[in-house]
């Protein structure tokens, strides 16, 4: 498909004898917010882990913007513009917001073999801007992430993804354990991705959240895609029916 930013073709994955992905073929379209739903063990996490470089597919092909790619590490995924925001493991609580924003991609003043002196001035000013850009109100980029609420942490993770100009943002259960107010904010944010030209992949158990902010819903069960429709062509009941 011409407007696909990521295309996966016939993806297979086995985990010690379990066939977790059974030939998944899917296009993620540019600027689209795609809701990925399914029960635990349906294969959605496996699919996401392969796209974000945590696991490798045993078989199948991935194309990003029409070119076949190999995603071996999380770094490869990030370099391709695919940023994943996990519910729990995307922030280091013992480190400051500014440090967290740049983990693994720290600006350096000069470096030898990839190791160098941090450009702390740049980190401070850019983190203030990055946080302000996602409409987060935090007292200072030096505050420890461990002191933030779940929603604020999610906000910082989103700010990070925006700052590094990701093309595809995968949000893995971003509304879990959030207050109603914070959930609204995350949903509003996913809606706003389109205007920024970013493709959103929104994984959730909560069908209402998916229907509120996505253009298209893809349902998975037992390692296969069982439904792929535009939001306006389906209903929560229909999606529940196939799961």
């Amino acid at each position: 498909m011409a407007d696909a930013i990521i295309s996966v073709r016939n993806l297979h994955k086995w985990y010690s004898g379990v066939h977790a992905l059974k030939g998944v073929t899917l296009d993620f379209r540019r600027g689209e917010a795609l809701g990925l739903v399914g029960d635990n063990g349906a294969g959605k996490s496996t699919l996401i882990n392969i796209l974000s470089g945590v696991h490798r597919a045993d078989q199948g092909e991935i194309q990003v913007e029409g070119r076949p790619v190999s995603i071996a590490t999380p770094r490869d995924a990030m370099d391709l513009g695919i940023e994943t925001i996990y519910q729990y493991n995307s922030m280091v609580p013992t480190m400051s917001i500014a440090r967290n924003l740049f983990i693994g991609r720290e600006p350096t003043r000069f470096s030898v073999l990839g190791v160098g002196i941090l450009d702390q001035k740049k980190m401070a000013s850019e983190s203030v801007r990055a946080i302000a850009n996602v409409d987060l109100h935090l007292r200072s980029p030096d505050a420890l992430v461990g002191e933030l609420s779940g929603g604020q942490r999610q906000g910082v993770a989103i700010a990070r993804a925006m700052h590094f100009k990701s093309k595809v943002m995968i949000l893995d259960e971003p509304t879990n354990h959030l207050s109603v107010k914070e959930t609204r904010k995350v949903i509003g944010f996913v809606r706003g991705l389109k205007e920024q030209g970013v493709t959103g992949v929104f994984i959730s158990h909560n069908m209402h959240h998916v229907f509120e902010c996505c253009d298209r819903v893809v349902a998975m069960a037992r390692g296969e895609i069982v439904l792929d429709k535009r939001i306006e062509d389906t209903s929560i009941d229909e999606v529940h029916g196939v799961l």
């Binding site: 729990y88 922030m91 013992t94």
Partner: protein, 337 residues
């Protein structure tokens, strides 16, 4: 207008207070100052006189360098019990090589290389087989100690007379206050401290120890980061062992026994967290100094020296409890708006 100014000042003070409470080495530093004052009074002013300070500063670098290595490794989320054995193995390697005619610089390089290999093995096995570093390095504690005794043939080799001891153990500075080893120690402390706080590698160490899944998912080569920390820890321990041997003049195969636990105590008193992610080089140094001060101060205050280990044990627990309490207090100070 004045009211606003006052509020701004109050906010600034609150922020400062919070920042300092969050410093992991604060509890250790306060204890250190209190103890120095106490010993100074109890010893009727002998504690801080030049001769006594010279004695403390003369042996501080040896334990201090080991503590720096252990602290950094602990921040990366791992643990090394083999430092005491490496402390003996490194100078023994050097001594054997020099007895067989190797020049000092070559022997030094070879000794550090042996340490690097030990550190690499510690790290590689820990990560490759996903076992606790407590176990790996406990094994290495025995193996490295045994190797030291075996290569020494049970009898310490004689060191050549023309060693460049001036570069490591001579007294220098105003009033011959410091040994050269102290300058090495200070230099290494500054470098490692800057590495932790000012380089991207330091950021990776803290992230790896702070929360491994996040570090890995952000593309940090966590295995490599940890292995480098293991190697650094071993090399610092070996170097410290060499300093002690040059000071004593003989490579005894038994030096460094029990050092691993004192180094852990130093790191912990200095605020490093066993869980990883938290700690500073300065904290490790403060912890080491505290232990040396107690060792020395008890003697000067005519307290039975057998209380030494009791005091260290008590302090270790106390410092950790105090640190946890202060962190909680700091967290309770909300800075909104």
């Amino acid at each position: 207008m004045r009211q606003e100014k006052f509020e701004a000042l109050e906010r600034e003070l609150k922020r400062l207070f919070k920042t300092y409470l969050e410093k992991p080495e604060l509890a250790g530093l306060i204890l250190l100052v209190l103890l120095i004052v106490l010993f100074q009074i109890r010893s009727h002013g002998v504690f801080l006189n030049q001769d006594n300070l010279r004695g403390i500063l003369g042996i501080l670098p040896e334990a201090g360098l080991v503590a720096i290595g252990v602290t950094i490794l602990m921040i990366s989320g791992e643990f090394d019990l083999s430092v005491g054995s490496v402390f003996a193995l490194m100078p023994m390697t050097m001594a054997i090589l020099m007895v067989h005619g190797a020049p000092f610089p070559l022997a030094l390089l070879a000794g550090l290389l042996v340490c690097a290999v030990v550190g690499f093995v510690n790290g590689y096995i820990t990560i490759r087989f996903a076992i606790p570093s407590f176990i790996t390095t406990l094994g290495m504690l025995f193996m490295a100690r045994s190797l030291t005794v075996v290569v020494s043939g049970g009898f310490p080799p004689l060191l050549p007379a023309d060693l460049p001891t001036w570069l490591f153990t001579s007294f220098v500075g105003p009033g011959n206050m410091f040994r050269m080893s102290f300058l090495w120690f200070a230099g290494i402390a500054v470098l490692t401290s800057l590495m932790l706080s000012r380089t991207n590698f330091g950021n990776w160490i803290k992230a790896t120890g702070g929360f491994l899944p996040a570090a890995a998912s952000m593309g940090i080569p966590t295995a490599r980061v940890k292995i480098v920390c293991f190697m650094l820890c071993s090399m610092l321990s070996g170097f410290a062992g060499m300093l002690q041997v040059l000071r004593l003049g003989s490579p005894l195969p038994s030096i460094g026994e029990g050092m691993e636990l004192q180094a852990v105590a130093s790191a912990v008193i200095g605020g490093a967290s066993l869980a990883g992610g938290i700690g500073t080089v300065m904290g490790g140094i403060i912890g080491t100094t505290l232990i040396r001060v107690i060792d020395n101060g008890l003697v000067l205050s005519h307290v039975d020296a057998n209380w030494f280990k009791f005091a260290i044990g008590f302090l270790t627990i106390f410092a950790v409890v105090a640190n946890a309490w202060m962190r909680k207090r700091a967290k309770a100070i909300k800075m909104e708006g």
